[in-house]
C-alpha cells in the first residue's frame, strides 16, 4: 500500500499512549513497563508510535517538511513493532506499516541517512549488509557441507550476512550446521553464491532496493530447488517468511527458523540432547522471530462507508499473536541442565535488543542504550546468560556487555543445542 492508503490509520491515532507501554495487563511493576525504545530514550511524544502517526497525518495534510528533528525521529526507531502490538490490543489500525512508509518516503524524497546509504550501497554492489573480508562462504571451509549452488537440495540453510562475514558470529553458522548434521537433516548452503535477503534494507527505508535484492535472492534460492529454507537469523526469517510473502516473492518456499526445526526434531526424538549444559538462562524474543514473524495476511478491500471502521472483506490485523514464541522455549526446555527464567517483557511485548531498524548503523549509541536496557532486565532475572535466536541481537548484546565489563553471557539457542548433543 502506498503511504496515502494509510491515511485512515494516521488519522486514527487518538494519542492514548498505549504504544509506549507493554499491553497494560502485562505491566508487572514499576520497572519494565515501557516497550518503545525510541520514546523511552528520547522522551518527546513524537518519538512514540502514536507521535509518528500524528506527524504522518499532518504531513499528509500539509506536506512533508524534512527538518533535522523530523529526520532524527524517522531514523531513531528500531521498527521493532512493539508499538504496533500494544496499540492493536485495543485498536483496529495499522501502526508499524504507516511508520515504515514515512521512512520509505524520506528515502524516496532524497533524505536518506548517510550511514544507511553506505550499508545499502554495499548490499547493491556486494549483496551483503555486512562488510567482510574474504568470501561469504569461507566460514564453512572444511565442514563438508553440500554446496547448493551446484547440487539441488530440498533444504537450504540460509546463513545470512552477519553470521557469514562476522568472525564473532560465525559460530552461529557453524553451530547451526553442526546441529542440522547431527540431526541428519539433508541440507545445503549457497556459500559464496548466497546473497543478502534484503530485509534490513527494507527497514532502513529502501523499498526499491529491497525489492531488487529480494528478486536476486529468490532467483538464487530457486536455482537450488529448495522447498524449505532454514535460517538461524531472525531477520532473515522474517524477511523470507513475511516480507517476501507480502510482496508476492516467496512462492511455495517454506521458511523455517532453526529453533522451529530443532523444536520439532527434539519433539519427535530425532534429536536427543544428552549433555548437561548447566546454565541458568533467560530468553530474549527477537522482534523478527516474535511479533514481526507473525505470518503475513494478504488483504485487499475497502472501508465500508458509515459509522464504523470496518472493511469489506474484514481486514485482518497482525497483532503479534502468532509470532514464533514457543519453539525456542521448547528447545531450551529440552536441553539438560538449562533453567529458563523469563524476563518481564517477553513474546509479543518483548523489549527490542536495539539491533533492528538500521539503528546499529545510524545511531550506535542508541542501539547500545536499547541493548543495555535489555541486558539490565536480563540481569534482574538472576540468569547467568541471555539466549536468543538472532545473531544481530547477540552481537549487540555481547558488544554492549563487553563495553560495560559485564558478566552476563550471550548465546544463540543453536549454540546451546550444539553443546547438548
Amino acid at each position: 500500500m502506498a503511504l496515502e492508503e494509510y491515511a485512515g490509520d494516521y488519522n486514527m491515532c487518538c494519542r492514548c499512549s498505549a504504544c509506549k507501554f507493554v499491553p497494560l495487563q502485562m505491566v508487572k511493576g514499576f520497572e519494565h513497563a515501557n516497550v518503545c525504545p525510541s520514546i523511552s530514550r528520547y522522551n518527546f511524544h513524537f518519538y512514540s508510535g502514536g507521535g509518528r502517526l500524528n506527524l504522518g497525518a499532518e504531513a499528509l495534510d500539509k506536506g512533508f517538511n524534512y527538518t533535522p528533528r523530523y529526520l532524527d525521529v524517522i531514523y531513531n526507531c528500531q521498527m521493532c513493532g512493539a508499538c504496533d502490538v500494544s496499540c492493536k490490543y485495543g485498536m483496529d489500525m495499522e501502526v508499524l506499516r504507516p511508520i515504515q512508509e514515512l521512512r520509505i518516503k524520506a528515502v524516496q524524497d532524497g533524505h536518506a541517512h548517510p550511514a544507511l546509504d553506505k550499508v545499502v550501497d554495499r548490499m547493491r554492489k556486494q549483496g551483503t549488509m555486512v562488510a567482510g573480508k574474504g568470501k561469504r562462504g569461507a566460514w564453512a571451509e572444511g565442514l563438508g557441507l553440500t554446496d547448493a549452488a551446484t547440487k539441488k537440495v530440498d533444504v537450504l540453510y540460509h546463513v545470512g550476512c552477519l553470521t557469514s562475514y562476522d568472525k564473532d558470529m560465525q559460530k552461529v553458522a557453524k553451530a547451526t550446521a553442526s546441529v542440522l548434521k547431527k540431526a541428519g537433516v539433508k541440507f545445503g548452503i549457497l556459500g559464496d553464491a548466497e546473497t543478502c535477503c534484503g530485509g534490513r534494507a527494507y527497514e532502513m527505508g529502501y523499498e526499491a532496493d529491497f525489492l531488487a535484492q529480494a528478486k536476486k535472492s529468490m532467483e538464487a534460492i530457486k536455482k537450488t530447488g529448495a522447498k524449505t529454507l532454514v535460517t538461524s537469523c531472525a531477520m532473515c526469517y522474517q524477511t523470507y517468511a513475511v516480507l517476501y510473502e507480502r510482496f508476492g516473492l516467496k512462492g511455495d518456499l517454506k521458511v523455517v527458523h532453526s529453533s522451529q526445526l530443532i523444536a520439532e526434531l527434539i519433539g519427535n526424538g530425532e534429536l536427543k540432547p544428552k549433555n548437561d549444559v548447566d546454565l541458568n538462562v533467560t530468553y530474549h524474543d527477537p522482534c523478527h522471530l516474535g511479533r514481526l514473524g507473525e505470518p503475513w495476511a494478504h488483504w485487499e478491500g475497502t472501508k465500508i462507508p458509515g459509522d464504523r471502521f470496518v472493511f469489506d472483506p474484514p481486514r485482518p490485523y497482525r497483532r503479534g499473536t502468532n509470532g514464533v514464541y514457543e519453539p525456542p522455549r521448547q528447545v531450551l526446555a529440552g536441553l539438560p541442565g538449562v533453567t529458563l527464567t523469563e524476563m518481564d517483557r517477553i513474546k509479543e511485548y518483548a523489549w527490542c535488543s536495539g539491533a533492528c531498524g538500521g539503528v546499529t548503523d545510524s545511531n550506535p549509541e542508541f542501539a547500545e542504550w536499547t541493548a543495555n536496557e535489555r541486558i539490565e532486565e536480563a540481569i534482574c532475572t538472576g540468569a547467568e546468560a541471555i539466549a536468543t535466536a538472532d545473531p544481530w541481537s547477540e552481537k549487540l548484546f555481547a558488544e554492549t556487555i563487553a563495553k560495560n565489563d559485564g558478566a552476563l553471557k550471550v548465546y544463540d539457542i543453536v549454540e546451546l543445542v550444539d553443546q547438548a548433543i
Binding site: L24, M26, V27, G90
Partner: protein
C-alpha cells in the same frame, strides 16, 4: 512558532539541549497545536526554573503528563512531564502512595498489587497518569474525582514551590489539607482546556485494600490473554434490568449494601467491545448478546476478603438482583472467557480504547460527575437524541445507550454518554458537535448540571452566571496567582484581559 534564540537557550540551560524542541513540524504530534516549544523538565527544581522563565518572558505554559486529550492555545509552552516518572513512596501503614506525574496507573497498580493494595484507575485507561483526577470502574469501592488526593507538591503559576497539607508543615504526605483552609481547593488536576494553575510535581494518592492476587498470571498472547488461574473469592457478572428505574434501584441498594468491589454500568455495545479484539468480532458479539438483555445493565465484581465474606456478598447480590428484576447475562455465566476478560479489563482498566475509539475511530463524549440519579434522568434524553444520528448511519449504533455507575458505594456517581464515529467523516463531526452542544445546553437550561469545559465565551455569558458566577471568582483567583498572565486561560476570555 519557534522561540526566540536567547529564550530557547535559557530553557535549554535548565533542562538540557536534548529536552527541548521548538521545531514547528514536530508540534503536530502535540495536539496539532503550534506550541512555542515542548520542554521536558526532569525534576521539581527544573519545573520551577522553567516556570520562572515563562514568567520572565511572559510565555504561557501548560503541563501534561501522559496527556491523552487536550485543547491548547497556540504559542503556549508545553511542559511534557514524561521525565518525571518515579514512584516516590508507597506507605502501607498510612494507605497512600506518592508519585510523580508520569507514573502510569498500570505501574502503580502493579506495585500496589504486590503489597495487597490497589489504586483507582481512571476510565481512560491504565496508561494514564496515576495522579489524574477522574472516574473509573473501581469508583464504587475506591473513591474518585479529586477525593483520592492527599498532599501535593505544587509549583505555582509564578514558579514558587508550595507543599500542600502535611507536606508543607512536616514533610509527610499523608494529609492534603491545612494548616487552616485547604489549598486542595485549587489543585485538582484536570484536562485542558480546563486549567489547574501551576504544575503538580508529586502527589500522594490514597490506596485501598486489594484482596486479589499479587498479580494476574496470564496466558496466551495479545490480544487474547486469559487468566492462568481464576482468583479465589472473586466473581464477575453482568446484570440487566427491565428499566432504568429498576437499574437505579439495584444500583442504590448494592451501594448501600457495600458489597461491590466494582459496579461498572457499561452497556452491551461497550461490553462487546471490551471483550473482543476487533470491530467485526464486536459487531457479531453485540448482535448476539444485545438480544439477551432486557434493558440497561452493569457489571458487578465481587471480591471477598475471606470465603465467608465472599459468600455473604454473593448472597446479598443475588437477593438484590432478584428484588429489582435483574437478570444475569448468560454469556458471562456460560462463557468463562468473557468473565475472565471483563474481570481483567475492569480491574486493570485496559479496555477503554476498545469501548470508545475502536468502533468508529473516534468518539466525543459528555461525562458528568455528580448526583447519579439526576444525571441519569438527563442522560435518557441525550440517548434519545442520538437515535436520529444512528439512523442516518453517522454514528455507531449502540442503541442510544449511556453508561455510568455509583461512586463511593452510591453516594456519588458518574454518568457518561458518547457518540463513536469516523474521524474521516466531516458530516459526522458536524452532527456530533451539534448533539454535544444541544445536550450540554439542555443540561444547563433544565438545571441538571453544567459543562464547564466549554469555550470561554459560553462560560462567560451562559454557564458561569448560572453557577454562582464561579468563573468570576476563578478569574480573580487566577489574577492573584498569575500576575504575569502565563496561564493560557487569561487573555482568552474577554473578562480576563
Amino acid at each position: 512558532m519557534a522561540l526566540d534564540k536567547d529564550i530557547y537557550s535559557a530553557f535549554a540551560d535548565v533542562v538540557g539541549e536534548e529536552n527541548i524542541c521548538d521545531d514547528p513540524v514536530m508540534m503536530a504530534a502535540y495536539y496539532k497545536t503550534d506550541f512555542a516549544a515542548v520542554i521536558m523538565p526532569g525534576n521539581t527544581a527544573e519545573v520551577q526554573a522553567v516556570v520562572k522563565l515563562c514568567n520572565k518572558y511572559k510565555l504561557k505554559y501548560r503541563p501534561i503528563s501522559c496527556g491523552w486529550t487536550g485543547v491548547f492555545i497556540p504559542g503556549t509552552v508545553m511542559l511534557d512531564l514524561r521525565r518525571m516518572d518515579k514512584i516516590i513512596e508507597i506507605d502501607e501503614k498510612n494507605m497512600y502512595a506518592v508519585c510523580e506525574p508520569y507514573v502510569t496507573s498500570a505501574q502503580l497498580q502493579a506495585e500496589l498489587f504486590k503489597r495487597g493494595l490497589n489504586t483507582n484507575i481512571k476510565g481512560s485507561g491504565a496508561q494514564g497518569s496515576a495522579l489524574l483526577r477522574g472516574h473509573g470502574p473501581m469508583d464504587q469501592s475506591c473513591g474518585a474525582d479529586d477525593r483520592n488526593h492527599l498532599a501535593v507538591e505544587w509549583v505555582t503559576p509564578e514558579g514558587d514551590l508550595v507543599k500542600i497539607g502535611s507536606l508543607g508543615s512536616c514533610d509527610e504526605f499523608f494529609c492534603g489539607d491545612g494548616p487552616g483552609p485547604s489549598l486542595r481547593c485549587l489543585v485538582q488536576s484536570t484536562v485542558p482546556p480546563s486549567c489547574t494553575p501551576g504544575v503538580f510535581t508529586k502527589v500522594a494518592t490514597k490506596v485501598y485494600h486489594w484482596p486479589g492476587p499479587e498479580r494476574y498470571h496470564l496466558k496466551g498472547n495479545s490480544p487474547n490473554y486469559s487468566l492462568a488461574e481464576k482468583p479465589p473469592y472473586m466473581m464477575l457478572r453482568y446484570y440487566s434490568f427491565p428499566s432504568v428505574d429498576k437499574l437505579m434501584d439495584a444500583e442504590y441498594k448494592l451501594g448501600e449494601a457495600e458489597i461491590c468491589f466494582i459496579l461498572y454500568g457499561i452497556n452491551m455495545a461497550m461490553v462487546s467491545a471490551n471483550v473482543t479484539s476487533s470491530n467485526e468480532e464486536q459487531e457479531a458479539l453485540f448482535h448476539k448478546i444485545a438480544g439477551e438483555v432486557q434493558g440497561p445493565g452493569f457489571v458487578v465484581i465481587l471480591a471477598g476478603n475471606s470465603e465467608k465474606d465472599f459468600e455473604y456478598k454473593k448472597k446479598v447480590l443475588e437477593t438484590i438482583i432478584a428484588a429489582t428484576g435483574g437478570e444475569s447475562l448468560k454469556a458471562v455465566e456460560e462463557e468463562p472467557q468473557i468473565e475472565d476478560t471483563l474481570m481483567r479489563q475492569c480491574t486493570r482498566v485496559s479496555g477503554a480504547i476498545r469501548e470508545t475509539f475502536r468502533p468508529g475511530g473516534y468518539f466525543k463524549s459528555i461525562p458528568v460527575m455528580g448526583q447519579r440519579d439526576l444525571t441519569v434522568r438527563w442522560a435518557i434524553g441525550a440517548g434519545e437524541a442520538k437515535k436520529p444520528l444512528i439512523e442516518k448511519g453517522l454514528i455507531v449504533d449502540d442503541g442510544g445507550a449511556f453508561f455510568g455507575w455509583g461512586v463511593e458505594h452510591g453516594h456519588l456517581g458518574k454518568t457518561e454518554i458518547f457518540c463513536a464515529f469516523s474521524p474521516m467523516n466531516p458530516e459526522a463531526w458536524k452532527v456530533v458537535d451539534a448533539w454535544e452542544s444541544e445536550e450540554g445546553g439542555r443540561a444547563l437550561d433544565e438545571n441538571y448540571f453544567a459543562l464547564t469545559m466549554s469555550p470561554l465565551d459560553v462560560i462567560d455569558e451562559k454557564t458561569g452566571p448560572k453557577l454562582s458566577n464561579y468563573h468570576l471568582w476563578w478569574y480573580k483567583v487566577l489574577d492573584e496567582l498569575d500576575p504575569n498572565g502565563v496561564i493560557p486561560l487569561k487573555g482568552v476570555s474577554k473578562l480576563t484581559p
